[in-house]
Amino acid sequence: MSGTGGESFAASPKGGIHRRHLLYYPSLALHYLAMEVKCRLAYRADFWAGLISDLFHHASTLVVLLVLFSHIPHIKGWNREEMLFIYGYFLLPFSLFLTTSANYWEFSDRYVVKGELDRLLIRPLPVLFQLMLEEIELEAFFGFPVGVALMAYSASRLGLAWGALDFLALGILVLAGTLLYHGVFLLLASLAFWAEGKTGLMPLVWNLNAYGRYPIEIYRGGLRFLLTWVLPLAFVGFIPAASFLRPRDWAPLAALTLPVSLAFFGLGLLGWRAGLRRYRGTGS
């Protein structure tokens, strides 16, 4: 804490952190998180039911995979443990994205049409930062430990040996995947600045996310090209996951995860900023 100058402290009266301090944004994020936890715990039974149903949802995907593998030994050369590993990996960036993206879905209706964006614009914080954290989806985060457990289970069954570098790579790849998702959906949410009302594009792309969690080899040429290079959802799940399982085949492609993600996040930011400049508030 630098403690110089009283004018730019965080809202918290006791021991706020200076704006330029490294921990300023993380500490604000924690405040947002605490707020959300308090809101959710007001309806405790509902919170637990939501959590359990979320776990049940992951369990249901697992049931499908396990039932499938009770009939066949492998899918395109990937066996049961490898498929579980890929799915487990996919859950990490996916759950991180889901936790912080609830407002993209509401963006058109709630923020642009009803004008709630005005409220965010007059606060001394980046608008996108507020948008991501205003509605934290707590239950969604539990996909993360589920994914870690699945990866740990299948890694031990497959006898994968992990060094410190692998964990570092894992961290970078997962964060990159989260950014990629954010870039894609931020861009789609920003369309609301130009076309008010629903465009139907977001649910369309949303439904494509299921394609990223299965081996890319199961898709034909055109679709495979689309998922790798045009709307590169394969970089969120399958490609980086496969690079841990079969590094010789997939590591070169997986190395592109970070640049591709940064490019898409940059694209999302460009669209977002162009949209913000266009925004004129609502009439009422």
């Binding site: 939501g50 465009t199 649910p203």
Partner: protein, 276 residues
């Protein structure tokens, strides 16, 4: 029947038909979304189609008793049928209970739940005609699976779909009414939605589950929502099996309606209208 009662009946039926028609007509405003709607359903279908294609390549010509074209038809019917039977009745009812606008609904001259179900029917019909049927024909063309060959098979599919819709809507009403007792019950609604998606057989025909689970899953109401119409569409049901499923469907509808009536009676007495 006396002429007065007769007229009341006609009035009653035309009232509900009007509600369904109104919802259908109001949704016509969205017909510009036609292509995105169709593509969304195709994308849904495609994600499972490719997975199953790879599965059948690994498993040989058939899996369980199914061949791949039958499986593709099953999946097509599953995703397109979902456009018809899926609705947000549970959420809408929960919202009206929470916000207290239900009080206004209760003084209207119709059965509240009946009116909601009929409106959902109008909505489902819209999605079915504009998104699902074109999607189904396109999917059949792209994935080259056979469409029902006979009018009887089409009829069986549509009848099964209607039963599935009613069972799902009754379940939705039941879960929506739970918010009388919990005020905020999104968690339960999520749990129900997941249960419907898994146990109705949209993703996975119930035949592929382990043998000891099969009879249990096939007798639950969820199986009527998707497993039943999908098999009717793919031609996997003999007339006697179709009849048996229909009887099962009608029985579950009776049980659910009874449960709903009891719950509704208790819920009305608990109604708290918040705010003022």
């Amino acid at each position: 029947m006396s002429p007065v009662a007769d007229r009341a009946l006609v009035w009653g039926i035309s009232l509900y038909l009007h509600l369904a028609r109104n919802r259908f007509l109001s949704l016509l405003a969205y017909r510009a979304n036609f292509w995105t709607g169709v593509v969304i359903y195709l994308v849904y279908f495609g994600s499972y189609y490719y997975l199953w294609k790879a599965v059948f390549e690994a498993g040989g010509e058939s899996l369980g008793k199914l061949t791949f074209p039958q499986m593709a038809a099953y999946l097509g019917a599953g995703w397109m049928g979902r456009a018809f039977w899926f609705n947000n009745l549970d959420r809408e009812i929960a919202r009206e209970v929470r916000e207290g606008s239900l009080a206004l609904q209760l003084i209207r001259p119709y059965n509240y739940l009946g009116a909601r179900v009929v409106e959902a029917l109008g909505e489902g019909f819209f999605r079915f005609v504009f998104y699902a049927l074109p999607g189904l024909f396109l999917a059949a063309l792209l994935a080259s699976f056979p469409l029902p060959a006979s009018p009887w098979q089409w009829g069986a599919f549509l009848a099964a779909l209607l039963i599935g819709f009613l069972v799902n809507s009754l379940l939705n009403c039941l879960f929506g009414l739970l918010s009388f007792f919990f005020l905020r019950n999104e968690g339960f609604l999520w749990a129900k939605r997941v249960a419907v998606d898994v146990l109705s057989g949209v993703f996975l025909p119930l035949d592929l589950y382990p043998g000891f689970l099969r009879p249990l899953l096939a007798s639950l109401p969820f199986s009527l929502i998707s497993y039943f119409p999908n098999r009717a569409f793919a031609g996997l049901l003999s007339p006697s099996e179709f009849l048996r499923e229909t009887v099962l469907g009608l029985s579950w509808m009776a049980i659910l309606t009874l449960g709903l009536a009891l719950l509704w009676d208790r819920a009305r007495r608990r109604l708290v209208v918040q705010g003022g």
